[in-house]
């Protein structure tokens, strides 16, 4: 339990450190969400260097947050709408910054097609919760491949 909390806290601290202050993006920990808890437990269960675990979980959380920002659009409030669009874009761009800066490039290659399909699925009206569950599955597949 302690290891999982440490991993989550370390990941959020790392993301906060990388996110430019000019964005005013707040990275909430999302501990209430059972899919996040499941992802933390999943990453923690693999034999990977601690810094890689933080990167992998960080990329996962960036995608979750980016998707959420672009789902919660305040259509009648232009300033709030602008913030949501910019925050989603910034977090998505961060995925690549993190993957290249922390040398987790295969994860970037693994998650990009999923992120693309996710946009198509949302366009077709699929439920985000179901898609986020698929993201956890993508994470598991990647970790299996990396730790085989």
């Amino acid at each position: 339990m302690t290891a999982k909390i440490t991993l989550l806290n370390d990941t959020i601290a790392m993301l906060r450190q990388h996110i430019d202050r000019g964005t005013s993006i707040a990275m909430e920990d999302g501990t209430m969400d059972e899919l996040v808890q499941e992802a933390v437990a999943l990453v923690e269960s693999y034999r990977l260097a601690a810094s890689r675990k933080v990167t992998v979980l960080g990329c996962y959380m960036l995608i979750r947050h980016a998707v959420r920002k672009h789902r919660d659009l305040a259509l009648l409030d232009n300033e709030a709408l602008t913030r949501s669009i910019l925050e989603g874009d910034y977090l998505y761009g961060m995925l690549y910054r993190l993957a290249s800066g922390r040398k987790e490039l295969m994860l970037m290659q693994h998650l990009t097609p999923f992120y693309k399909k996710l946009q198509l699925a949302l366009l077709e009206g699929q439920h985000p919760r179901q898609l986020m569950a698929e993201l956890n599955e993508m994470l598991r597949l990647y970790l299996n491949k990396q730790c085989a």
């Binding site: 672009h70 602008t82 874009d89």
Partner: protein, 333 residues
């Protein structure tokens, strides 16, 4: 003569590559065919293709046989640019782009946001999915992935420019440094990255690549400052929006900063807000046009152009440097 003709660049090939990014996507099922339609229509709407052109020029400082990789980088950058324009149009509530209805007016905002996201992700996927071998027959190296990943991370820089603009709406305490930082993020860095991306993809000398980045950054600064001046100087019919549209939207540009050095005019400018009637803006914009603010702004743009020329001069021993002079002449027009 068009820029790409002057530079001997095959525009049809760029266009075909850009279309191929979407047409080769097997995920686009029949039900998602409207996504392909909208995407292709945006890509085919054309424009000057400045970013791919700059990437290709950067590539000419490296190995000619690396051209397919240069084209790949060029396509990713153009897609990032196109997708960011879709989001910008939503933010700016623009009904038209190049005389055509903007995507969100056709699909609604939520769908337009997702289509732009799809386009960005598809371009990166396309650039990293093709099984390519290096000279020793090895599968795609991590270095290739790193290069594409770095390109995609440019999105964060574009966002920072937009954030500053949002945060500083009607902020008349904006400093010259703040303005220059915003201009750098919003426009100049993408141009710098285009040149460098092309050079890196073609395995150009690292020193050349860095100089190309400096060249693109300086040229991009000059380009944006001139664009800010045009916003004041041109009539509505010429640019499709009222003179001083930036100021009317609370965006503080260089001419405004210079005009505020006159204490009397400063008082009038700082009294402007989103609630003011258009007549107040008309009066202030006319007053700014009556000062030397536009001329001084153009002088700073020229300083940046000179800086670009200095970088080009340092690259002059290379035969491809002649193309940088063509770019300078094009942007100086």
């Amino acid at each position: 003569m068009k820029l790409y003709d002057q530079l001997g660049i095959n525009l049809d090939e760029i266009d075909r590559t850009l279309c191929n990014v979407l047409e080769s996507d097997s995920s686009l099922s029949f039900s998602a065919s409207s996504v392909k339609e909208h995407g292709l229509s945006l890509v085919q709407a054309g424009g000057k293709r400045l970013r791919p052109v700059m990437a290709i020029i950067g590539g000419r400082f490296g190995q000619a046989e690396r051209y397919p990789y240069v084209l790949k980088a060029a396509a990713v950058l153009e897609y990032i640019h196109t997708a960011s324009l879709i989001h910008d149009d939503i933010i700016d509530q623009s009904p038209l782009r190049r005389g055509q209805p903007t995507l969100h007016t056709l699909t609604g905002v939520p769908k337009a946001v997702l289509i732009a996201n799809y386009m960005m992700a598809r371009a990166v996927e396309w650039a990293t999915e093709t099984p390519e071998l290096d000279s020793s027959g090895q599968a795609r190296s991590e270095e290739e992935l790193e290069r594409i990943s770095s390109l995609a991370s440019v999105i964060t820089e574009l966002c920072l420019g937009e954030y500053s603009q949002l945060r500083d709406r009607f902020n008349f305490d904006l400093s010259l440094d703040d303005y220059l930082a915003k201009t750098r993020n919003k426009t100049a860095l993408l141009m710098a990255h285009c040149l460098k991306a092309g050079a890196d993809a073609a395995y150009a000398d690292a020193g050349h690549s860095e100089l190309l980045f400096q060249f693109g950054e300086a040229l991009g600064m000059a380009f944006q400052i001139k664009d800010d001046v045009l916003d004041f100087a041109e009539k509505k019919e010429a640019i499709g929006k009222p003179a001083g549209a930036d100021l009317r939207n609370g965006i503080i540009t260089l001419p405004v900063l210079y005009a505020m050095e006159d204490p009397a005019l400063r008082q009038e400018i700082v009294a402007l807000s989103a609630e003011c009637p258009q007549e107040d803006f008309d009066r202030v914009i006319a007053a700014i046009n009556g000062t030397d603010a536009l001329e001084r702004s153009l002088k700073l743009a020229q300083d940046y152009t000179d800086k670009a020329a200095q970088a080009a001069e340092r690259l002059a021993p290379h035969p491809a440097a002649v193309h940088l002079t063509t770019l300078i002449h094009y942007f100086a027009k």
